[in-house]
């Protein structure tokens, strides 16, 4: 069993603290993705799990054993690096078999496992080439092959797809997913691409500035972001966030953006907020649609009249960029038709799916 436990894990580089006490439990066979903006400490955390960086404080255990002082080779892990780190002076076959050779496995075992990995990753034809003779995607595959031949308890990936072109990235995404289903091990995967995180993870860990902001399944993180940072980081396009104030209008709490623009506070949030509170009103582009749209809105809706600045047709949907209360926001339209810039349209906002965040702390009021 290879569950991973991080307890108050801290990392200092000299006097600079870059990871500030992380707590995280990763279950056996779980696919966990660490995601966050550049420099937030994802790689550092992963490298501490791998044993490539000393742990300044706290505890990391793998499979129930505290591994703080274990060298990487004692942790029964394997890792795929961003630039693959294939050994340039060895053939693909030797690259794959290297770890087993170091572990002094018998020749026939090595050969069997290497071939098995080659079949899984579909690289049988490349076995006698050197890394220099491979394309980016092939190198990526060899790097994964090198990780799987040793049948480790845990796989660690550090942005393994960021050097690939967009198309290959999508393809490798599914391959890694498939690989996970085949080999059944715990995977910790680092990326700064939230689409990768959404599509691959069992659970997403959103990090910022050396802290964990939120942990949850992709849908949880998408639908119930704990704060404005997660709300704007996860999902594409990012959530629309408009600052306002809670006021009483017509006997009901509204979020007022200025003297004449306001939306009612959804019923589910009415008791979580009070009059006069400064808030940030958030909703996704999918939840703001032109009135009379083919997709019906569930629950309560609020009408808005907006001027479209730019329309970006994406095929099945069109992204509409509008101004609302001085903020740029986006709406989605699924009825394909040409929209002219400057056109005034009526929109409906699905109130039940909107979010309210406290303006001062950025925390979600849904709690």
């Amino acid at each position: 069993m290879a569950e991973i436990l991080l307890k108050d894990v801290v990392k200092n580089y000299g006097k600079l603290e870059v990871v500030h006490g992380i707590n995280l439990f990763i279950e056996h066979n779980e696919f966990v993705v660490l995601v966050g903006p550049s420099g937030c400490g994802k790689s550092t955390t992963l490298r501490m799990i791998a044993g490539l960086e000393d742990i300044t404080g706290g505890e990391i255990s793998i499979g129930g054993t505290v591994v703080n002082d274990f060298a990487p080779r004692k942790r029964d892990i394997s890792m795929v690096f961003q630039n693959y780190a294939l050994y340039p002076h060895m053939s693909v076959r030797e690259n794959l078999g290297f770890g087993l050779k170091i572990a002094k496995q018998p020749k026939d075992v090595i050969e069997e496992r290497v071939n098995e990995a080659a079949v899984i990753l579909n690289i049988e034809d490349l076995m006698d080439r050197t890394p220099a003779e491979l394309s980016g995607g092939q190198r990526q595959r060899v790097a994964m092959g090198r990780a799987i031949v040793r049948h480790p308890q845990v796989f660690l990936f550090d942005e393994p797809l960021s050097n690939l072109d967009a198309k290959l990235r999508v393809q490798m995404r599914t391959e890694i997913k498939r690989l996970h289903q085949k080999v059944k091990t715990t995977i910790v995967y680092v990326t700064h691409d939230q689409v990768e995180a959404m599509t691959m993870a069992d659970r997403i860990v959103v990090m910022k500035d050396g802290h964990i902001e939120q942990v949850g399944s992709p849908l949880e993180v998408f639908e119930r972001p704990v704060d404005t940072f997660v709300a704007s980081f996860i999902g594409s396009p990012p959530m629309n966030l408009i600052p306002g104030e809670v006021v009483m209008r017509d006997g009901r709490l509204h979020v007022a953006f200025n003297a004449d623009q306001s939306v009612p506070v959804p019923a589910s949030l009415a008791d979580k907020t009070t009059e006069g509170q400064k808030v940030i009103f958030g909703f996704r582009a999918d939840d703001l649609m032109p009135d009379g749209h083919a997709v019906p809105i569930m629950g309560e809706a609020s009408g808005l009249r907006l001027t479209v600045d730019i329309a970006e047709p994406l095929g099945t949907e069109t992204l509409l960029f509008c101004q609302f209360a001085g903020v740029d926001i986006q709406a989605k339209m699924y009825n394909p038709r040409m929209v002219k810039p400057g056109e005034v349209m009526d929109f409906k906002c699905a109130l039940d799916k909107t979010h309210l965040f406290d303006a001062a702390s950025g925390k979600s009021l849904r709690g």
Binding site: T56, G57, G58, I212
Partner: protein, 307 residues
């Protein structure tokens, strides 16, 4: 989710590996360089002479330094050394740059040229000295023989003896030996030079001199500083050349600081005084190296390669 840790944090252990890895190097250097230098610093305050071992304990304070600083021969040698270094390093840079630009233009046979260019760098300075002593020899030297056969001059130019010519020949030998360091590194710089800024400058209307002056040369400077630093590490190997070619003579016309140290220390066996001079020469070398090294560090920052 993230809880501020209240647990006492384990002090991160200091990693002793780099210290361990570097210790053999420093131990050897302390034993071979630092300790002897401290010893010689001590003797530079004594009246130590090789032939009288007990003179090692004759403390005479700063008298050795006083003596050399009031000695006009010492100052002449010191000045000559500075002139020698300044001329040699500048000529090496200019010729090196010229050669690098020249070879960079040539496409056919470039590798061979580069290899040939590197040979002088590998010559023993003593051989360089011998080689030019032979070639500049007034009686049977290649140069005088050639001039004679061509009917130029009366044939017996005393290259190594004549006053300005003596200096000229040792500088010539030094430049011959060391220009390749500059040429090689500047050529490497030219190879590493990105094309875009060159083309951008051309589009912006620079003529080829302006392109060279404002784009190529600034890019090459760090490479020149590497060469300068490498060279300044071992400037004193000119001693070998001079020792073979003229031995500092005749009548001290080619005497440099280093040949003077050898004469005073070994031939006159005044170790204390020689050590005082040696300290001056060491400070001179350190000053040169330090100057170029800091330039190199600054240039590196500018190139964005520094940690």
């Amino acid at each position: 989710m993230s809880i501020v840790s209240v647990q006492p944090r384990r002090k991160s252990r200091r990693d002793w590996t780099p210290a361990l890895l570097l210790s053999p190097a420093f131990l050897v250097l302390i034993f071979v360089v630092l300790v002897p230098l401290l010893f010689s610093l001590y003797t530079s305050f004594t009246n130590y002479r090789l032939i009288r071992p007990d003179s090692l304990y004759e403390w005479i304070g700063l008298r050795n330094y006083q003596r050399i600083f009031t000695d006009s021969k010492f100052w002449a040698a010191f000045g000559r050394t500075i002139i020698f270094l300044t001329l040699a390093l500048n000529l090496e840079f200019i010729f090196g740059l010229g050669i690098a630009l020249l070879i960079n233009k040539i496409t056919w046979g470039q590798r061979t040229l580069r290899t040939i260019m590197m040979f002088p760098m590998m010559f023993s300075p003593i051989l360089v000295g011998y080689q030019f002593k032979f070639i500049f020899n007034d009686n049977i030297g290649l140069l005088n023989n050639a001039l004679q056969s061509l009917g130029i001059g009366d044939g017996a130019i005393a290259w190594l003896v004549d006053k300005p010519l003596g200096m000229f020949t040792i500088i010539f030998a030094e430049v011959w030996m060391s220009t390749s360091v500059f040429a090689i590194l500047l050529l490497a710089g030219l190879f590493a030079m990105p094309r875009d800024p060159l083309e951008a400058a051309k589009v912006d209307g620079c003529n080829s001199w302006q392109v060279f002056r404002h784009i190529t040369l600034p890019f090459l400077m760090p490479f020149a500083f590497i060469a300068m630093t490498i060279r300044s590490l071992d400037v004193a190997r000119a001693y070998d050349i001079v020792d073979v070619m003229t031995g500092g003579g005749p009548a001290n016309r080619t005497e440099l600081l280093w040949t003077m140290i050898a004469r005073v220390g070994y031939d006159n066996s005044r170790m204390g005084q020689a050590n005082a001079m040696a300290y001056v020469s060491i400070l001179l070398s350190i000053a040169f190296t330090y100057y170029f090294f800091t330039k190199l560090i600054a240039a590196r920052k500018y190139m964005g390669g520094a940690e």
